[in-house]
């Protein structure tokens, strides 16, 4: 794989114009995600997390500041298919089976992938391997509506990893799942990520989830959203179930909760 990029956000400003009213979502926000770092953004609804995420992967034009993905702009990175995007809902194509859904992002905008020779080979092997690792081999030919919510989200994860993109962008991907499935998904995600070591920007509402997954948890609050805390997670890797009982985990959870409360006032 090519060298992993860092994400550098400087002075990011985004203003929404809704029926004549100016809504400043972000005003001069700075954030840096190091190459290969897993960073979670946590904060209340309306603090601009999703706006930030969409701006980073070139889905939203910005009104000020700059974003760079390594040496590329978000648009360039998008054109070269450098983002593995995981939206909030699984967003599977209902008319395609599991395998074809996992392959979906590979099969569109093919010319971009051809430029990156390292990603073109062994595609089919990769897909079957990925499907196996997310535990869906038996369901590979199943249609989305035959799957549970948790299984659908596994397909969504596999689809993002199938790109072997150097940057993963995830927008509350587990928010619709029940607590038990949700906890399982964290460890599945960590396992998949461990091999790619991609640079990750992960948005969540869930403090436990943020700590289990991340190298750093960034707390956003207010409107426009500002960084109110930046917590380095001092837990080793690989992380396994039971890590939630670690005293360090509890300390982090307490400080993040405090930051969220203070930011809210």
């Amino acid at each position: 794989m090519t060298a992993l990029p860092a994400i550098d956000i400087v002075g990011l400003t985004k203003v929404f114009d809704r029926s004549g009213q100016h809504l400043v979502a972000l005003d001069g926000l700075d954030l840096r995600v190091e190459a290969g770092e897993f960073v979670s953004l946590i904060g209340p609804s309306g603090c601009g997390k999703s706006t930030l995420l969409r701006a980073v992967c070139g889905l939203l034009p910005i009104d000020g500041g700059s974003i760079s993905i390594g040496k590329e702009s978000p648009i360039e990175a998008k054109q070269r298919k450098h983002f593995g995007f995981v939206p909030q809902t699984p967003a599977l194509l209902d008319w395609k089976n599991v395998r074809d859904n996992v392959r979906l992002l590979q099969t569109v905008n093919r010319s971009a992938a051809d430029n990156d020779a390292h990603r073109a080979d062994n595609e089919t092997d990769d897909i079957d391997d990925l499907i196996e690792r997310v535990g869906l081999t038996a369901a590979a030919s199943a249609m989305p509506r035959e799957l549970s919510g948790g299984m659908q989200q596994r397909v969504s994860l596999a689809r993002a990893f199938a790109l072997r993109a150097p940057v993963l962008i995830m927008d509350e991907p587990f928010s619709a799942l029940d607590e038990i499935t949700r906890a399982d998904m964290r460890y599945l995600l960590l396992e998949l990520w461990r091999e790619t070591q991609a640079t990750v920007l992960f948005v969540t509402h869930n403090i436990d989830e943020a700590i289990v997954l991340s190298d750093r948890v960034v707390v956003l609050a207010g409107q426009p959203g500002t960084v109110v805390a930046d917590v380095q997670i001092k837990l080793g890797r690989p992380r396994a179930e039971g890590i939630e009982d670690d005293p360090i985990f509890h300390a982090h959870a307490a400080s993040i909760r405090r930051a969220l409360h203070e930011g809210h006032r």
Partner: protein
């Protein structure tokens, strides 16, 4: 459970059978004159005795309706795609569509005949006009109903507009297109029959119905009505069967 399912599956047939049984009973019980209302059994016997005649005329009507339907569908897809991509086109188009829909199309029959002659062409045009507006409005709804997350997903790898149309917008709109098709099949047939009825043709179910009416051929008048309904039901059932196959992935085709 099993009994419930069997009951539900025969329910539509009992409805039709009951309707005809009551009709038959009424005619026989009150000795209604055939000129006023013939018994359904009499009409069916008449149709079976003249099957070749009705088949010949039905083929003409079905051909006109089918070409009209396809034409309406193709033009509607082009219009709907333009409307779904541009708010200006959409806003500009709706008044025209409402105008078409609220025009009693029957009055346009003489106009179409003046333009297109006495052959199939004006009937095709009328059939197409009948089916056009429902197709457009459902297609616009379908093309617009694309889920935002799916759209973001494809945009995140810089998929082209063309890829997004073929891979996402069109398949997403299939359920509404089929729903429109179910309505439009019947509308196109009605359009073809009306075109024939008022359009002085030489063949078609509308033509033989109109001739029978003016000469008080009661059996033929009702025979053409029966055949037209039969054709409509058959076409709708064929489309439903097709929809079941194509939309197997969609929740609406699930067994209830």
């Amino acid at each position: 459970m099993m009994r419930q399912r069997v009951l539900l599956s025969v329910a539509p047939f009992t409805g039709i059978a009951g309707f005809f049984a009551l009709w038959e009973l009424y005619v026989r019980l009150f000795d209604v004159r055939p000129l006023t209302l013939p018994a359904p059994s009499r009409i069916i016997v008449h149709v079976l005795e003249n099957l070749g005649f009705y088949a010949e005329n039905a083929v003409v009507t079905v051909t006109e309706a089918a070409i009209g339907l396809v034409l309406a569908f193709l033009i509607a897809m082009v219009v709907a795609t333009a409307m779904a991509h541009s708010a200006f086109v959409e806003r500009a188009s709706w008044p025209v569509l409402v105008l078409i829909q609220s025009t009693p199309i029957v009055v346009l029959v003489p106009v179409f005949i003046r333009w297109l002659g006495f052959g199939m062409a004006p009937k095709i045009a009328i059939a197409a006009l009948f089916a056009f507006v429902p197709f457009v409005s459902n297609a616009v709804t379908g093309l617009r109903s694309v889920d935002a997350d799916r759209l973001d997903l494809l945009h995140s790898v810089d998929a082209s507009d063309r890829e997004i149309f073929w891979r996402l917008r069109l398949p997403s709109s299939l359920p509404s297109l089929f729903a429109a098709g179910r309505i439009c099949i019947a509308l196109a047939l009605i359009g073809a029959v009306i075109g024939e009825y008022y359009g002085s043709s030489t063949a078609g179910l509308g033509t033989i119905s109109q001739r029978a009416a003016s000469r008080a051929f009661v059996d033929q008048q009702w025979g053409s009505i029966f055949v037209a309904s039969f054709v409509g039901i058959t076409a709708t059932l064929l489309l439903l069967a097709c929809e079941r196959r194509v939309l197997r992935w969609h929740a609406s085709t699930q067994q209830r």
